[in-house]
Amino acid sequence: MRKFTLLDGLVVPLDRANVDTDAIIPKQFLKSIKRSGFGPNAFDEWRYLDHGEPGQDCSKRPSNPDFVLNQSRYQGAQVLLARENFGCGSSREHAPWALEDYGFRVIIAPSFADIFFNNCFKNGLLPIKLDADKVDALFKAVESNVGYKLKVDLEQQTIALPDGTAYKFDVDAHRKHCLLNGLDDIGLTLEHVGDIKAFEAKHRGAQPWLYA
C-alpha cells in the first residue's frame, strides 16, 4: 500500500450529502477483475454527459461542464471536501480504488459510511472526519478562493489552512501506523498465527458443528 505522510493538496468541494458508492463508481465498471484503472470513471454519471461503459477512451467522451470536478480551477485536486455520510451504500472497494486512481489522497467530511471509511485506509487514502461547522467553513473558503490548498499532516494529525488556522483530527492508532508506513494488514496479522491457531482449537472444542 502507498504510504501517506504529508500532503499539500488542492481542494475540490462536492456539495451534497449521502454521496453513495454507486455514484462514486457505477456498477458497470465493477465487472473488471483488476484493482486499477478506475480513475477515469470516478463519478462517471455526474462527470460525463453520455452513458459510460468499461473499456472506453474517456478523454473522447463529452464531459459535463456543470460537474465540479470538471471545472478548470479544480484540476489536479487531491483533497475531496464532502458532506455527511460520504461513501454510503455498497461495500465495493472499487470506490476508494477509483478515488485514489483519480488522484485523491484525502477526503474530508462530517461523517462517512463505516465500510467505505474502513476501505479507504487499505488503499492509501486518508478519510478525515471534521465537525460540520468546520466543513461548512472550508466549503465557503474553497468556493471563494481559487487554488485553495490544505496541508494535511498525518503524523501530527493536523490540517493547516492557508490563513494559518490548524484543525486537529482523530485517527485510530492502528490505521495511522499502517498508513504512515504503507503496511498492509495481512502481513501484520500473520505475525499472530500462533494466537489464531490457539483460538481455532478452543473454538472447535466449544462449537464442533462449525467444523463438522
Binding site: 451534497r16 455527511e84 461495500s91 465500510i115 495481512i186 499472530h192 458443528w209 462449525l210
Partner: protein, 467 residues
C-alpha cells in the same frame, strides 16, 4: 458477569487478540464469496504465494452479473463472462465449494447461504457485499467487507476490527394488514436517516420482530446497512431453529442438540446496556414507498411527495430538490398518483419464497396494467425458483403478465442486462434507490413485494392494506 447484549456475546466469543487501542483480531466462521468483489482478493493471495486458511469456511456462487434469461445459453457480455469464469477458476484452484450457474443451489449469495444452512447462530459471517447484514437474522454477527478484507479473511481467517456501539431497535405490537418486514425497515430508516446507525451494530427486538418469519427477519437485517449500520441482528428462537433444521450445512445428530443448547443463549440478557435505544409502535407502521434517491426519502402510502420548502435545513433542502428533479416528481403529489413503467420483484432483500408467495397472492387472477412495460419476478435462488414452481406461483405470475426469470441480483443493481432506461420509473423490492442504481437515469421506488405486485396491477402505487 454483568448482563451482555447479543452483540457482546457474538463479539466476545470471536476475539483472537486485542490491542490497547481496542483494535481486535476477530475470528471469522463463514465467508461467502461472489464474482464481483473476489477476483482482486484471489489475485492478491496468489501474488503473495498465500493459500486460504480454511477453504471449508467458504462458499461461493455467482450472482451480481448473471443473466436471468437463457440459463443454458451462457453469458453474452464478455466482461461479465470473464468475471464469472474467474470465480469458477479461483474456486477450482483453491478447492472452494461453488454453486455455479445452472446448479439449483446457485442464487443471490444472501439467499443461498441461509438456504443451505451455512449461516448459523453464533457465527461471524462476512462477504464482500454490504448486504451481508442479512445473516444477522440468525443471531450471527454478519457484515459486509471490502475486497482487501476479503483477501485478509481468506489468508488469516480473521478480520481486523474495532467493536461498534450497540443500538437496540424495539418494535412492539402487531403489524397491520399489508404491512411487512420491508415496511418496518423503511419506516426505521425514514425515522433515523441513512446515517442514523453509522458506528452501531443494531439489534432488532420486540414482539413484532419475534412475530416475523426468518424470511422477514432477513429482509429487516438486510436493510440495517441502509440505516448506516454494518450489522443488524435478531436473537435466536424456535423460529430460527425450525428454519435451520435439516438444511445441508446444519449440524446433525448430537451436534444439533449441542448447537441448539448453545444457540438458546444467543439473546441480550435482561438489563443489558445499549448505547442507543429506539422504540417503534408496530401498529402505526403503514406500507412504505420511497420518493427520492436515498432510502431515508420515504413516506407512507397515504403520504405525498414532500415540499423541499419544508426541509429542516439548507443541505437537506438542496438534496430534496435534486432528488425531486432526478425522480421527475412534483412536491405534494400523492404517492398513489405516481404511475410506474417497470416492476422488479426479487433481490437479497425480497427474493425468498415468502416474498414470491406474497406477490403472487396479490397478482392472482389479475393482469399487469397496460402502462407497465415490464414486470419481472426474479427468484433469489434456483431452489426458491423450484419451490415457487412446485406451488404454481410461476403460472400465477405469467398469467398475470409478469416475466418469470432465473435467479440472480438482476435489476437490484443492474450489472446484467436487466435495467431501467433513462427516465423509467420502477416499483422495486430491492434495497437502494440511489441515482442510476437500476440503470442510468432510472427512477426507483422501494416497496414490499405486496406493494410492488399491487403497483404492477394498478399501474401506479396503491395501498395494499385496502385491497
Amino acid at each position: 458477569m454483568s448482563a451482555q447484549t447479543l452483540y457482546d456475546k457474538l463479539w466476545n466469543s470471536h476475539v483472537v487478540r486485542q490491542e490497547a487501542d481496542g483494535t481486535a483480531l476477530i475470528y471469522i466462521d463463514r465467508q461467502l464469496v461472489h464474482e464481483v468483489t473476489s477476483p482482486q482478493a484471489f489475485e492478491g493471495l496468489k501474488l503473495a504465494h498465500r493459500k486460504p486458511w480454511r477453504t471449508a469456511s467458504m462458499l461461493a456462487t455467482p450472482d451480481h452479473n448473471v443473466p436471468t434469461k437463457n440459463l443454458g445459453g451462457g453469458i453474452k457480455d464478455p466482461i461479465s463472462r470473464l468475471q464469472v469464469e474467474t470465480l469458477d477458476a479461483n474456486c477450482a484452484e483453491f478447492g472452494i465449494v461453488e454453486f455455479k450457474r445452472g446448479d439449483a443451489r446457485q442464487g443471490v449469495v444472501h439467499v443461498m447461504g441461509p438456504e443451505q444452512g451455512a449461516t448459523l447462530p453464533g457465527m461471524t459471517v462476512v462477504c464482500g457485499d454490504s448486504h451481508t447484514s442479512t445473516h444477522g437474522a440468525f443471531a450471527a454477527l454478519a457484515h459486509g467487507i471490502g475486497t482487501s478484507e476479503v483477501e485478509h479473511v481468506m489468508a488469516t481467517q480473521c478480520l481486523v476490527a474495532k467493536k461498534s456501539k450497540a443500538m437496540l431497535i424495539k418494535v412492539e405490537g402487531v403489524l397491520g394488514r399489508g404491512v411487512t418486514a420491508k415496511d418496518i425497515a423503511l419506516a426505521v430508516i425514514g425515522r433515523m436517516g441513512t446515517a442514523g446507525g453509522t458506528g452501531y451494530a443494531i439489534e432488532f427486538a420486540g414482539s413484532a420482530i419475534r412475530g416475523l418469519s426468518m424470511e422477514g427477519r432477513m429482509t429487516l437485517c438486510n436493510m440495517a446497512i441502509e440505516a448506516g449500520a454494518r450489522a443488524g441482528m435478531i436473537a435466536a428462537d424456535d423460529t430460527t431453529f425450525a428454519y435451520i433444521k435439516g438444511r445441508p450445512y446444519a449440524p446433525q445428530g448430537d451436534n444439533w442438540d449441542k448447537a441448539v443448547a448453545y444457540w438458546k443463549t444467543l439473546h441480550s440478557d435482561e438489563g443489558a446496556a445499549f448505547d442507543a435505544v429506539v422504540e417503534l409502535d408496530a401498529t402505526i407502521i403503514r406500507p412504505q414507498v420511497t420518493w427520492g434517491t436515498s432510502p431515508e426519502m420515504v413516506t407512507d402510502i397515504d403520504g405525498s411527495v414532500p415540499d423541499p420548502a419544508s426541509a429542516p435545513d439548507a443541505v437537506k433542502r438542496g438534496d430534496w430538490e435534486r432528488a425531486l428533479a432526478y425522480m421527475g416528481l412534483t412536491a405534494n403529489t400523492p404517492m398513489t398518483e405516481i404511475k410506474i413503467d417497470k416492476v422488479f420483484i426479487g433481490s437479497c432483500t425480497n427474493g425468498r419464497i415468502e416474498d414470491m408467495r406474497a406477490a403472487a397472492a396479490v397478482a392472482k387472477g389479475k393482469k399487469v396494467a397496460a402502462n407497465v412495460k415490464l414486470a419481472m419476478v426474479v427468484p433469489g435462488s434456483g431452489l426458491v425458483k423450484a419451490q415457487a414452481e412446485q406451488e404454481g406461483l410461476d403460472k400465477i405470475f405469467v398469467e398475470a403478465g409478469f416475466e418469470w426469470r432465473d435467479p440472480g441480483c438482476s435489476m437490484c443493481l443492474a450489472m446484467n442486462d436487466d435495467r431501467l432506461e433513462p427516465g423509467e420509473r420502477c416499483a422495486s423490492t430491492s434495497n437502494r434507490n440511489f441515482e442510476g442504481r437500476q440503470g442510468q437515469g432510472g427512477r426507483t421506488h422501494l416497496v414490499s413485494p405486496e406493494m410492488a405486485a399491487a403497483a404492477a396491477i394498478a399501474g401506479h402505487f396503491v395501498d395494499v392494506s385496502k385491497l
